[in-house]
Symmetry: C2
Subunit: 250 residues, 2 copies
């Protein structure tokens, strides 16, 4: 399994991904799921991948090859982010169809985010079927993989005006919640922060399994969350309504 999230705010885009892959519980490996492509001053992309590892690796390889061979369509010559997402969807479909012989489907999901000179920065999620969606003011983030455990904190914190530092922290808390509840999501954690209109490779860092920061964040969030829970008003039993005892009260 995998968990990747991209948060798009006015100030830029935060990307965060785990690195655990598994084919059964005894075949667990570490692969980077964050891939960066860019030409300084012209365009910058980050691609996050989830799903079948053979498919995602083949897709990333073809994107690289298309750049090197200066293919008619490649992410260094697409005119805008929509075209980049559409191109990614086509590459993904082409790779999946190569091995689509039996009933097994080697699907993959991608998030692509970034900016092309003169255009706004954007994030899209590309489905295995090749089509894609983008973020909105109401939904300023996109997730792929094991997305449910880490969704509540994003829903509560992220809005278009959120700062990049807060978005990084929130993405890491979202990742922490996911890792706590799903063993197949795990470190190293890759983080990339693209600042709007810079058109330069964003800040990137990696948190390893034994990272002090990851351990401190995990502990701090656990403590803060427990404090928050303990500070909730206790149940007032006498105000609770039992419809079975109160026939008049419906």
């Amino acid at each position: 399994m995998t968990y990747c999230v991209a948060v798009s705010v006015k100030a830029g885009i935060v990307f965060c991904s785990d690195s655990r892959t598994n084919a059964g519980v005894d075949q667990i490996s570490t692969y980077r799921k964050m891939h960066r492509f860019g030409r300084d001053g012209d365009r910058q992309f980050v691609i996050l991948s989830a799903g079948n590892l053979a498919t995602t690796q083949a897709v990333i390889n073809q994107i690289k090859n298309d750049i090197q061979e200066n293919a008619f369509t490649n992410i260094f010559n697409v005119p805008n982010m929509d075209s980049a997402a559409e191109y990614l969807g086509q590459v993904s479909l082409a790779q999946q169809s190569k091995y689509n012989l039996g009933s097994t489907i080697y699907e993959a999901n991608f998030i692509i985010g970034g900016q092309i000179m003169g255009k706004p920065h954007r994030v899209m999620m590309v489905y295995p079927q090749g089509n894609y969606i983008t973020t909105s003011k109401d939904t300023p983030y996109l997730q792929i993989g094991e997305s449910k455990y880490g969704k509540p904190i994003l829903d509560r914190i992220i809005e278009p005006g959120t700062t990049l530092d807060t978005a990084v922290l929130c993405a890491l808390v979202s990742m922490d919640s996911t890792m706590r509840s799903n063993l197949t999501v795990g470190p190293p954690i890759d983080v990339c922060v693209y600042e709007a209109d810079q058109l330069m490779q964003g800040r990137y860092f990696r948190l390893l399994q034994d990272s002090d920061y990851l351990r401190d964040l995990k502990r701090a969030w656990d403590e803060r969350l427990k404090d928050a829970f303990r500070s909730l008003p206790p149940i007032q039993w006498d105000t609770m309504w039992d419809p079975d005892k109160d026939q008049a009260g419906s």
Copy 2:
């Protein structure tokens, strides 16, 4: 969809369920998913249900009929909680197989918890296949339905020594997180608290859509969670490791 959770601690069992059912987004109804059966001084059960509504209603009806007709096996004469869970699994399988003509499967999941005189209180989850699992010291709760959004807070708070009041509050926070992220889980919320060794019907209450308590809890938890997030230590960029810039540092 549905969300039901049962928390089993030393002091007793807390049951919590939503009431929304849907067959497509424009066919949304309200049905109680919590069913109580008991004979004071002898045994008490609460059954929570998720899945196909026709199946769950048929199962609950058969359990009632078996009691009324004093069937050879019914939940008023099973010797222990394991037998109760096994009986529930058999009833569920029988009802599913009645309509299992095409490829569509009308599956249902159940949680059954309670106590029989002279035995400890216990909780089991019954799979659509009829088999079942129970709780443990490490996993003192069981969920059915849309379980992921509400799992993290249970993992952090619930342990065998947790009080019943705290377990109720935690179940409600878990329910709130689920309702916030999934539209198909919604009020009224049913809560039942069975106190260990009482063998009397537990305390029961229902929170409606416009419940003051539900609204206050939702707001309080949202505020506390945001406060908790804001109190996290900020990212220290200078301590973050970029493996691409630090060839020596792996």
